[in-house]
Amino acid sequence: MARFTRGFAGRSANRDPRLPPGQYDTGTSWPVLTAEVTPRVGTSAWTFTIDGLVEQPTTRTWDELHALPGSSYSGDIHCVTTWSKLGMNWSGVSVDTLLGLARPSPGATHVLVRTYTEYTTNLPLEDVTGGKAWVAWEVEGLPLPVEHGGPARLLVPHLYFWKSAKWVSGLHLLDHDEPGFWERYGYHNHGDPWLEQRYQGD
């Protein structure tokens, strides 16, 4: 393979250090990338369920979730299609708080994230605990738009954004790993943007 592309100088000068390798700053735009028909879930019918290997299977309504202590994230998000959006402000509830209600069983090691579509994604428990993940319903102080996953989506900003499932409906705890939707279509199982874990084998 050629070591470099003829005529390509690139834009490495003044590159924002917040950008992982191979990513570019999408600026004020926010691309919408989804694989299915947008579900319309009214907040009156919306629930969030944690089940599987938990001591207390838990379902909470929209209002009940909002009554929990809130939590916010300020920082960057990174999409596998190479855009990043820097300096965002999100709020919702920490997954730590939610898992505190359900209490994972000692054998639980992974979560399969469920949504209001058939989309799923998988994560090790350690990637959604310790202040690393949220169920988010507000972005930049406004309700999360439906095309970006509203009324609520998972937010796991230290991994590529397909892990931050839109239209999230719950977490299913497991004692093993089970690949989700894109993970079965060849995406990387973990998805660390700083290691460029985009596709299987990366």
Partner: protein, 237 residues
């Protein structure tokens, strides 16, 4: 949304640019000859990576427009986006004989295997993966695959010499060619209903707004939500 057994996407390889063809004032088709043949399905995409002498890289994904069965060469069609680091380079700098880093094929969801009725609905550059499907259908001689493509004006239509046919319809939203009986306007139910063949899977590709409109229209024709596959793109440069 049942997924197949995973097949890891292939590694990066070198590809030679063996053809460059303008489609519209803002889009060009690049014919690439990879060192190792690609065996792609209609609807899949590939990645193109540019590398600067200092090691900096930029890569973008591009849908494959050519049908399966031509693995020695693949076509990608690239819209030139203002300020688009990769698309501007491909349009303005790349010449025949240049080598580009290529990885693919990728994507197992937005694909048509050639074995089901299908309704393909594209907006603007969203026609690209659908063109691979239409070309594949024509080679297979399938009469139950329909294409509806929406463009602003005649000069925005990709593959214009090839798209026209009894199984296709072009919707013009801003200006129509002389003699077109349909007044320019956005796509609507009456444009899609005739194309929805029984039992079809819907493949919708376009901007987020276009995909939202079309999937809602397809629901209105009675197509089940789980028979639709969507590829939305936002602005990617």
């Amino acid at each position: 949304m049942v997924a197949p057994t995973p097949i890891p996407p292939p590694r990066w390889q070198s590809a030679t640019v063996v053809g460059i063809r303008p489609e519209t004032p803002r889009a060009k088709t690049f014919r690439l000859r990879p060192a190792e043949p690609m065996h792609h399905l209609a609807g899949q995409y590939c990645l193109v990576r540019l590398t600067a002498p200092d090691g900096y890289t930029a890569s973008r994904s591009y849908s494959i427009a050519s049908p399966p069965g031509e693995e020695a060469e693949i076509d990608i069609t690239v819209e030139r986006l203002d300020g688009g680091e990769v698309s501007e380079f491909l349009h303005d700098e790349v010449e025949l004989g240049d080598e580009l880093d290529l990885r693919g094929p990728i994507g197992g969801w937005f694909v048509w295997g050639g074995d089901t009725p299908a309704v393909l609905v594209g907006g603007g550059s969203g026609i690209v993966p659908l063109m691979a499907m239409l070309r594949h259908a024509r080679r297979l001689g399938r009469s139950d695959v329909r294409l509806v493509v929406s463009v602003r004006s005649p000069e925005d239509l990709y593959y214009a010499d090839e798209v026209v046919g009894p199984e296709t319809a072009v919707i013009y939203t801003r200006s129509a060619p002389p003699g077109d009986t349909r007044a320019p306007r956005r796509i609507e139910l009456a444009d899609l209903a005739p194309a929805v063949v029984p039992g079809a899977t819907g493949y919708v590709c376009g901007s987020a707004g276009f995909a939202e409109t079309v999937t809602n229209l397809l629901v209105a024709t009675g197509m089940p939500v789980d028979h639709m596959r969507v590829e939305r793109f936002g602005p990617t440069s």
